[in-house]
């Protein structure tokens, strides 16, 4: 699991990167959204194959395309 995304971190980043001052409610909502995505990515990190360069996904699809009918 990735470390917990704290709303204070979101507030700080928003100020630094976007010059936006977030209220506590919005910071909490964003922290929840970001946490959900981070958790999903962390959970599948065992599936990551770093030999498959991500920009070559089309060739992966081509490999998976031609199979006989089920």
């Amino acid at each position: 699991m990735i470390a917990r995304i704290h709303p204070d971190l979101i507030t700080l980043e928003a100020a630094q990167r976007l010059d936006v001052k977030l209220d506590a409610k919005r910071a909490g909502e964003l922290a929840t959204d970001v946490q959900r995505v981070c958790d999903a990515a962390t959970a599948v990190s065992r599936d990551a194959d770093f030999n498959e360069e991500p920009t070559r996904f089309t060739s992966v699809l081509a490999r998976l395309a031609a199979k006989p009918r089920a």
């Binding site: 990735i2 995304i5 971190l9 979101i10 980043e13 928003a14 990167r17 976007l18 010059d19 936006v20 409610k25 919005r26 909502e29 964003l30 959204d33 970001v34 959900r36 995505v37 981070c38 958790d39 999903a40 990515a41 962390t42 959970a43 599948v44 990190s45 599936d47 990551a48 194959d49 770093f50 498959e52 991500p54 920009t55 996904f57 089309t58 992966v60 699809l61 081509a62 998976l64 395309a65 031609a66 199979k67 009918r69 089920a70």
Partner: protein, 469 residues
């Protein structure tokens, strides 16, 4: 409404080619219809009447010569306002790009123009192709022709409306998380999200490079198949574009599907579905069964996880595209666009790359688990009836993600997997708005999806119904 407008794309192309109809007549009828519905649906961003008629006259003159005519010769089309034409304004449905004149022309635009199509105008769309409802605060919300209180689906909102309302014979949209399928479904027409890389994205406003696909919308499966044959195929200008051979999709339309195994997911896709949507899905499966298909229920690898991973990719890439503008001109974005992009500024780069790096294996696992057992997967495009504009208008930033998640939950998994998905009209829900199922298949199985969709349309007439706007 003119009889000319009731013709399908394939029919009007044949009529123009054989001189039963002129391109000028077809173009004039479409333009009149487009102007008529504009006041009620707001589906157009810019009209090109004079140029369209000039192109139509030229197309008619060419018929008298020995010139080889393209498969769309003289056929009037209109497209989502995100396809670049060198020197022509392409807004992307945004205020930021309201006067943007690209320096290149999109490969797909060159292909449909080479095929002889007439360009009627640029259609409304969600701001930067980034919402699934059809809301647009800069050009006005697009409205559903079946009931103008309701959303059109997005982001290819104008494409869905113009085709459904018989104001053009087909349209190019784009699908990053459902943006072709949702407007096709909500307006009662056909829409294809192709295999990632099947169609060049060169010269198209990006939403999220790793997930973006160009897709055709039309009234019939045959019309979509024809457009697909024209626009698909390798392009040296798009390194992600596949070199796989493009089949003759119309040849696959045999009407025969006997023995095909059609999968129905037991998890995820029906979890938030309403009774009337389920009823439409069951009826459509009964039709496919009567045509000889075998229905197989199965569990599919967690689509919710794929949904979240697609969010990781879209949010990170969208934040990268819009970061500078959002810092410098936040007032020029809608609340919807700002709130949807915002999480991307807080995602670690490692999370984005982990999501992308897991994609090949997750796709392989999904394909083995699903398409090792069935030929195609059948599921609702939208699990609920088409909502109203009011129901989906965010009042504050926190409203945005729940609205988007609800509408796109059944669509985003296919984008993450890169697999094709075809949306087909399947009746109407209790509120009188269209419902639709989607057929998903292995990568590059568009011909099979067309084959099944066409067989279904041969024995149903949902796609023949037109809104009375």
């Amino acid at each position: 409404m003119s009889d000319i407008l009731s013709l399908s794309l394939a029919e009007v192309a044949a009529a123009i080619r054989t001189k039963k109809l002129s391109s000028v007549e077809a173009t004039r009828a479409c333009l009149e219809r487009l102007h008529h519905i504009q006041s009620k649906t707001n589906c157009v961003i810019s009209f090109e009447d004079e140029e369209a008629l000039k192109a139509a006259r030229a197309a008619d003159r060419m018929r008298g010569k020995s010139a080889r005519l393209g498969p769309l010769h003289g056929v009037p089309l209109a497209h989502k306002d995100m396809y670049y034409r060198k020197g022509r304004i392409t807004t992307g449905g945004s205020k930021i790009l309201h006067d943007y004149r690209p320096g290149i022309t999109a490969t797909v635009v060159e292909r449909i123009q080479r095929a002889g199509a007439v360009w009627l105008g640029n259609l409304n769309m969600a701001e930067f192709a980034a919402n699934p409802t059809g809301h647009n605060n800069h050009f006005g919300h697009c409205r559903n022709p079946w009931n103008t209180d309701h959303i059109t689906g997005g982001s290819s909102s104008g494409s869905g409306v113009a085709v459904a309302a018989r104001a053009c014979y087909g349209s190019l949209g784009s699908d990053t998380g459902g943006s072709v399928r949702l407007p096709a479904a909500a307006n009662g027409i056909v829409g294809l999200k192709p295999t990632y890389g099947r169609i060049s994205r060169h010269g198209i406003m990006p939403r999220s490079w790793s997930l973006d696909t160009v897709g055709p919308l039309a009234r019939t499966v045959r019309d979509c198949a024809r457009l697909m044959k024209i626009i698909a195929g390798a392009d040296a200008n798009d390194p992600t574009c596949s070199t796989e051979k493009v089949p003759d999709y119309e040849k696959a339309l045999t009407g025969k599907i006997r023995g095909l195994k059609i999968g129905v997911p037991l998890n995820h896709y029906y979890e938030e579905s309403s009774a009337d949507v389920r009823s439409c899905m069951t009826a459509s499966l009964d039709v496919l069964k009567a045509l000889g298909a075998r229905i197989v229920e199965l569990e599919v690898p967690d689509p919710q996880r794929l949904f979240e991973l697609s969010n990781a990719v879209t949010q990170a890439e969208s934040a990268a595209i819009h970061g500078r503008w959002m810092r410098e001109r936040p007032q020029d974005y809608s609340l919807l666009m700002l709130a949807r992009t915002e999480p991307g500024f807080h995602l670690p780069a490692t999370v984005y790359l982990q999501a992308l790096s897991a994609r090949p294996r997750l796709t392989e696992e999904f394909i083995a688990a699903v398409f090792g057992k069935v030929d195609i997967l059948h599921a609702p495009v939208m699990p609920m009836p088409v909502p109203t504009i009011d129901e989906t208008t965010p009042r504050q930033a926190g409203d945005v993600q729940p609205i988007i998640r609800r509408l796109t939950r059944n669509n985003r998994p296919a984008n993450f997997l890169g697999i094709p998905a075809l949306s087909i009209p399947a009746g109407f829900t209790d509120n009188g708005l269209p419902a639709a199922f989607q057929l998903m298949g292995r990568p590059f199985s568009e011909a099979l999806l067309f084959q099944v969709g066409d067989a279904y349309q041969r024995v149903t007439d949902w796609h023949m119904r037109a809104p009375r706007v």
